[in-house]
């Protein structure tokens, strides 16, 4: 049963990722990316990491993709729909395809090491309590730094996107 769900969700995720790349309009890409995020959230639940799935839905779908949709609506991209080197452009597509295949081949070779085959069976998931304890004790500095990064990014986004010389 789990295997069937895994294959359905992963086929969905790959199809959605391909749709992001091949849809001409950016709006369709955002919607496809939303489908990809939801499929990944399902995979996280399947993997026994429901906390990550919650964050996936809240942070990515609820915040990041809404931001993308806002910007696309703001910019009225209709007139710049043409911009897209498509597969007809062999000069651009060949290195891209080679790069993608190279990534897959190289990481597959790296996986043949045998270290990971010992971990092939599905162990019990680590609980929420353990994650929380680790996050707020051993990784507290990283946690605080992440909040600083968010603050800096929020200020930077406002500063970058405001009008030149205008009031914020």
């Amino acid at each position: 049963m789990e295997t069937v769900i895994f294959w359905i969700l992963s086929a969905f995720a790959v199809a959605a990722a391909l749709a992001v790349v091949f849809f001409k309009r950016a709006v369709n890409g955002v919607i496809s990316l939303l489908a990809l995020m939801l499929a990944l959230a399902g995979l996280y639940v399947l993997m026994g990491a429901p906390l990550v799935a919650f964050f996936q839905v809240i942070v990515y779908v609820g915040a990041v993709l809404v931001l993308f949709a806002f910007v696309i609506m703001l910019l009225n991209l209709k007139e710049s729909v043409r911009p897209l080197i498509f597969l007809a452009d062999v000069k651009a597509a060949t290195p891209a395809a080679l790069f993608a295949v190279g990534i897959v081949v190289l990481s597959w070779l790296a996986l043949q090491d045998g270290v990971f085959s010992k971990a092939a069976a599905l162990p019990p998931a680590s609980g929420l309590r353990q994650i929380a304890v680790d996050l707020f004790t051993r990784h507290l500095l990283v946690f605080e730094l992440a909040s600083v990064i968010l603050l800096v990014a929020a200020v930077a986004a406002i500063v970058i996107s405001r009008k030149e010389g205008g009031r914020p």
């Binding site: 789990e2 992963s10 790959v14 990722a17 992001v20 790349v21 950016a26 890409g29 990809l36 990944l40 995979l43 996280y44 026994g48 990491a49 906390l51 990550v52 996936q56 990515y60 990041v64 931001l67 993308f68 910007v71 696309i72 910019l75 991209l77 710049s80 043409r82 911009p83 897209l84 080197i85 498509f86 452009d89 597509a93 891209a96 993608a100 990534i103 897959v104 990481s107 996986l111 990971f116 971990a119 092939a120 599905l122 162990p123 680590s126 996050l135 990784h139 990283v142 992440a146 990064i149 968010l150 990014a153 929020a154 930077a156 986004a157 406002i158 500063v159 970058i160 996107s161 030149e164």
Partner: protein, 99 residues
């Protein structure tokens, strides 16, 4: 399901995102491709956390999500500024840095 299934899926998604980054021209779609790659890495981290008994993988995911949100905010700010100054988002037309 084994670790290989999840890592293979993550690799496939990363490859799709990386290839899309090279063949597309629209700045917004480039950011979307970056998001695909970040999500692929998240998936691989989650599967390692699951199969190699650890919480670090999930904590890394939270940090990566934070960075991704910050990156999206700043990137979209840059896109707005770019559109304002160039009136286009076609990355093949914006070549001020090429000299």
């Amino acid at each position: 399901m084994t670790l290989y299934h999840f890592v293979g899926l993550g690799m496939a998604l990363f490859a799709i995102g990386a290839a899309g980054f090279f063949i597309r021209n629209n700045a917004v779609v480039l950011l979307l491709c970056i998001e695909i790659m970040l999500n692929a890495v998240n998936l691989i981290f989650a599967s390692f956390a699951r199969f190699l008994y650890g919480t670090e993988g999930q904590i890394f995911i939270f940090i990566i999500m934070t960075i991704a949100a910050a990156e999206a905010a700043v990137g979209l700010g840059i896109i707005i500024a770019l559109y304002r100054s160039h009136k286009t988002l076609d990355m093949s037309l914006i070549k001020d840095l090429k000299g």
